[in-house]
Chain length 227, copies 2
Amino acid sequence: MADHFAGRIDNASSDPQKVKVPEKSITRLRSYLFALDDYLAQGAARVSSDDISRKVGIKAHLIRRDLSQFGEFGRPSIGYDAAYLRTRLGQILHIDDSKDILWVGSSRLSQDSLLIKRFQDHGFNIVALFDTGTPARDACVGGLPVKPFTHVISTVSELGAQAAVLAVSQPEAQAAADVLISAGIKGILNLTSAVIVAPHGVCVRNVDIVAELLALSYYCHGMHDSD
Amino acid sequence: MADHFAGRIDNASSDPQKVKVPEKSITRLRSYLFALDDYLAQGAARVSSDDISRKVGIKAHLIRRDLSQFGEFGRPSIGYDAAYLRTRLGQILHIDDSKDILWVGSSRLSQDSLLIKRFQDHGFNIVALFDTGTPARDACVGGLPVKPFTHVISTVSELGAQAAVLAVSQPEAQAAADVLISAGIKGILNLTSAVIVAPHGVCVRNVDIVAELLALSYYCHGMHDSD
DNA sequence: TAGATTGTTAATCGATTAACAATC
DNA sequence: TAGATTGTTAATCGATTAACAATC
């Protein structure tokens, strides 16, 4: 169970030092994967970078460049084998693997009942659930026992999870993150509105619906201008 | 109620063509705002770019550069007046304004009971709620009546909302977005996993917890290397 | 005046776009 | 062979970093 996060990316150059794929590439890869699923559902066997481009609104140039960072998946004049490319992208993003994660802060999870299922559908298993308060002895959310946060270090070394979802209250967020990091967690999905500072080597990603709304509200009127 | 999204940014240059603030700047502005709230809560009257830097893990260089895009808020050798800067950032991000939004796809909202409150706390008022199915005549979520999606165009012209939250099912997402756009909506917060293609002039932002987890799972093992 | 910290200008870095050679 | 489409190399663009002049 330990290292489902530790698969290997085959870089086109097979040069281990060149693992320098920009974040935006990774995000776009996901778009390509959705487009492929669409084409496959339509029964397409082959797709060109131009086909994908039309579906996701990203230039074909960039699609080819993104893909070529991970290998040569296409054939000149023919395009990409849709099923093969789908499989490879799935491997690169580990989308079909089973992945173990920790969840810290149980209340958010208990409010959003469909979330656990959505996680499972994408291969994310919540293997332990913590609360920063003192949970009742038999507290349980979505079939998982709620453990006190003080158990986190022993649990991480036991289960070997490398990623955690941080869903505690905003004032607690940084301190909880620090504990997770000291426990050896390498990736944190931050659901709080707090800004988490993490050392080099730990990846923090933020999901903040209010922040995105704010950005939207900002951009909604920058739009009067030419660009 | 119409144009709460339409406030004006005072660009340092007062040149209307120069409204070209990078997206990442806007995102960082939010971090600075949180840091200021922290310092203000501690009773600080003045903060330097270096103070903020320590709190948010962003280089002081970049903080000053970000801020200077919007005006000259600080004083050499003194720093920034914390309360004043907080106010100005709030204005720039419209964080304290009341903002009207539409919500399309009622089921997601009914599952996450705290979300409406969280929206309201940040000044986002859900002024109309739609469902792509045929809602029961008196269907209601969070005190708001659920209208059929066919009413969206008339509602937008009536209420003048400029932004909408898209929370329909994934296969419906693009079509629903197209309707919203034709109704005159300028900003869409996409809560589905679908990739939404929108014309120039319409801003789409995505909140996809599963996508972020995937990115995390990818980066969790790119980390073995030097960078 | 000397020290501190800003806002800005110049240099570096990285990502996207465009052009093209390779090849099916 | 001619046409199509890839993967890659070169050119452009934008964002970050570093240096510094301005000023409190």
